[in-house]
Amino acid sequence: MTLARRLFLLVGVVATAAGFAVVAGVSLGLELTDIFLGLVAALAALQGLRYVQRRRETPMNTTVTGDPEARVAVPIPGSDFDDDLVSAMGRHTHWAARKRVVDRLESRATQALVARDGRAPEEAAALLDTGGWTDDPVAARFLGASVSIPLRQRVRLFLSGQSSLTDRAGRTVAAIERIGTDDDSTGERR
C-alpha cells in the first residue's frame, strides 16, 4: 500500500467516524446543512462515475475453453489464394498481395495453355499479351492484355456489382478452367 493510499484510507476512516458521531448527536462544529450534504453527494457521485468509467475499460477475465468436439481443422486446398485475395483488397498489404494474385493466375494460365492446349511457351506468353487466350475480356484484361471492354458491357458489370477484384479473379479462374476444353472454340477468335 502506498503512502498516498494509506493517507486516503485514514481520511476515509476519520470521516466515517465523524459522520457516525454527528448522527449520534455529538457536535463537531459541523452541521448537516444542505450545502454540506450536497457537497458530499456530489463528491460520492463523482467518484462513482470514475469507478463506472473504470469498469468500462476493464474486460471480463474468464476462462475460455476450446472446442474439443470439433475435429482438428486442416486447410482447404487453395485457401492461401483466397487469403491473398482478401488482403489484396485490404488497405496495407494491397499491392504485394495483388501482385501475388495476378502472378499466380498468369503462370497457371501459361501452364494450362501449354499443357492442355498444346501451345509452345512463347506462343502462350504472346496469347496472354494479346488477350487471345480467352473470349472473356475481363479475364484477358486482368492478366495484362489491353483489350477494351465495350461500354455497354462495362455499364452492365458496374451495375451488377461484378467489378471487384474477387469477381475479376473469379472470371479469370473460370477462363483458365475453360482452356483446352471444347467450349473454348471461341478462344482463337482474335
Binding site: 463506472v52 482447404i76 494450362a112
Partner: protein, 422 residues
C-alpha cells in the same frame, strides 16, 4: 480455500453504489440509499468470496476401446468431488483427441457438486484409424457470485485404438520393374509363364512341352514357344505426410493424408496377397520405414504401423521437415529394383518433384492421388486447376497416376487402368 483469480465481473458495482448513495442524499430519497446499502452488502460478499480447494477424480469409460473405423463409441465421463467443500459452479470440458469428432452430445458438463458426489456426462465419438489418447480435462470452478474463478486440469488416461483390418478391396496393377523371384507381374523377359511372348529356335535343353509341335509338323524344324515370365515385385508404399498434405475438402471431411494411408493399406494387402514383397515409408517430419518383406508377421506389423504410427496420424505434424534430406534418405533405403507407389494429394509442386526424382532414379513410380480439392471458393477452383496441371505433368514424364476422387478406390482404379500401359 483458494482464491483463484478475479473475474472482474462485479467491478464497477462500487461506482454504482456511490452514484446511488450520492443521488439518494441529494434528492433525499430513502429508497436510493437503501439500494446503495444493498450494493454494499453485495460488494462485501464479493470481497470475501472464495472457492474451496478443488480436488476432483475423473474416470472415463469407452463402450469399445478397440473399435472399427466409423464405429460410434460412447464415452462416459464421471466426475467425483473428492474435496471437502461443495463446488457450486463446476464446468468440465473433456479433452477429446483432436482427430476424433464428437457425433452426439457435447463433451462437457456443467453442474454443482457436493463433497463425495459424482456427476456423469455421456457423448459419442466416431472412430477413425489411429491411436487416440485423451488430453487433460479442463475444469473451471467459480464461486456462486462468479466473482472468482479457478481453472484446473485433471487427467485420466484413456486411449482409443482403431486398427482397421488390412483388406485388399482393390487390386493394384504394378509396373514392369521386378525382382528375380517368381510372382505375378508379367515381364518382358521371355521364359515360362502364361502369356505368349515369342517363338525362337530350339536350343538344347529346352523343355519338351514348350516345343511348338505344329511348326515341327509343318516345316520339320524344332522351335520353342516362349512366354512372358512372371516375377514378383518389391514395392515400397510411400505416403506423403508433409504438413502440406494435410488438407481436406471440408471441415468434417477425411483429410488427404487419411485417404492416402487408406489407399496404402489397401495396396499393401493386395500386393502381399499376390506374393510381392511390400514395404512402407512416410515422407514427412515423422520418420517411418518398414523394409519390403512378406508373410503374416509382416502383415501384422504393417497393420499396427498404419494404425498407430505417429507419422500416419490424421493431425498435422509440427516438427521441422527437410524434404531434400528425406528424399535422399528414402533413395538410400530403396533397393534398385524396388517400385514405388507414392500416395500424395499433389497439392503442391514438391510432391510432383519427389515422384519425378524417384522415377528418374529408376524406381517405377505409380502415384495414387486422393483428390482433396473442391469448387467452393475461387482459390479452391484454382487449386483444382493447379492439381490437374501437376497430374498432366507427371503423366507426361512417364509416371503412372491414379486420380482418386470421391468414388471407392477400386472404381477409380478400374477407370484409370484402361489408360495405363505396362
Amino acid at each position: 480455500m483458494s482464491r483463484g483469480f478475479d473475474t472482474e465481473r462485479w467491478t464497477g458495482l462500487d461506482g454504482l453504489v456511490l452514484v446511488a448513495a450520492g443521488a439518494g442524499v441529494f434528492t433525499r430519497e430513502a429508497s436510493l440509499l437503501l439500494a446503495a446499502g444493498l450494493g454494499v452488502v453485495v460488494l462485501g460478499y464479493v470481497r470475501v468470496a472464495a472457492i474451496p480447494e478443488v480436488s476432483l477424480r475423473i474416470e472415463r469409460d469407452l463402450s469399445d476401446a478397440t473399435p472399427d473405423p466409423d464405429d460410434e463409441v460412447e464415452v462416459t465421463l464421471r466426475v467425483t468431488n473428492e474435496g471437502s467443500g461443495t463446488l457450486f459452479d463446476l464446468r468440465v470440458v473433456d479433452g477429446v483427441p483432436p482427430a476424433l469428432g464428437v457425433a452426439d452430445g457435447p463433451a462437457r458438463l456443467g453442474t454443482a457438486l457436493r463433497p463425495g458426489a459424482t456427476a456423469t456426462a455421456t457423448y459419442t465419438v466416431t472412430a477413425v484409424r489411429g491411436e487416440h489418447a485423451w488430453d487433460e480435462t479442463v475444469v473451471v470452478v467459480r464461486d456462486p457470485s462468479g466473482a472468482v474463478e479457478s481453472r484446473e486440469t485433471v487427467s485420466a488416461e484413456t486411449t482409443l485404438r482403431c486398427e482397421p483390418e488390412l483388406a485388399a478391396t482393390a487390386d493394384l496393377p504394378l509396373r514392369g520393374l521386378t525382382s528375380k523371384y517368381a510372382g505375378r507381374v508379367e515381364t518382358d523377359v521371355p521364359g515360362s509363364g502364361l502369356e505368349f511372348a515369342s517363338i525362337r529356335e530350339y536350343r538344347h535343353g529346352d523343355p519338351i512341352r514348350r516345343i511348338d509341335w505344329n511348326r515341327r509338323a509343318r516345316t520339320g524344324e524344332l522351335a520353342t514357344v516362349e512366354f512372358r515370365e512372371e516375377r514378383a515385385a518389391s514395392v515400397v508404399l510411400v505416403v506423403d505426410t508433409r504438413p502440406e498434405a494435410h488438407v481436406a475438402p471440408g471441415d468434417e471431411a477425411e483429410t488427404a493424408v487419411e485417404r492416402s494411408v487408406d489407399a496404402a493399406s489397401v495396396a499393401f494387402s493386395a500386393l502381399l496377397d499376390s506374393g510381392d514383397s511390400v514395404g512402407v515409408a512416410a515422407f514427412g517430419p515423422d520418420e517411418c520405414w518398414l523394409a519390403p518383406s512378406s508373410g503374416a508377421d509382416h502383415r501384422a506389423r504393417a497393420r499396427r504401423l498404419f494404425a498407430t504410427h505417429p507419422a500416419f496420424a490424421p493431425t498435422p505434424p509440427d516438427g521441422a521437415f527437410f524434404p531434400s534430406v528425406a528424399v535422399r534418405r528414402l533413395r538410400r533405403r530403396l533397393a534398385s529394383d524396388a517400385q514405388v507407389i507414392f500416395c500424395s494429394p499433389l497439392v503442391d509442386d514438391y510432391g510432383v518433384s519427389v515422384a519425378r526424382r524417384l522415377e528418374a532414379y529408376g524406381h517405377a513410380v505409380t502415384v495414387v492421388s486422393p483428390d482433396p480439392t473442391t469448387t467452393a471458393t475461387i482459390g479452391a477452383r484454382l487449386a483444382r486447376i493447379e492439381r490437374d496441371l501437376r497430374l498432366r505433368e507427371l503423366r507426361r514424364s512417364g509416371v503412372r497416376v491414379l486420380d482418386w476422387g470421391d468414388e471407392p478406390l477400386g472404381v477409380a482404379l478400374a477407370r484409370a487402368e484402361a489408360g495405363w500401359s505396362r
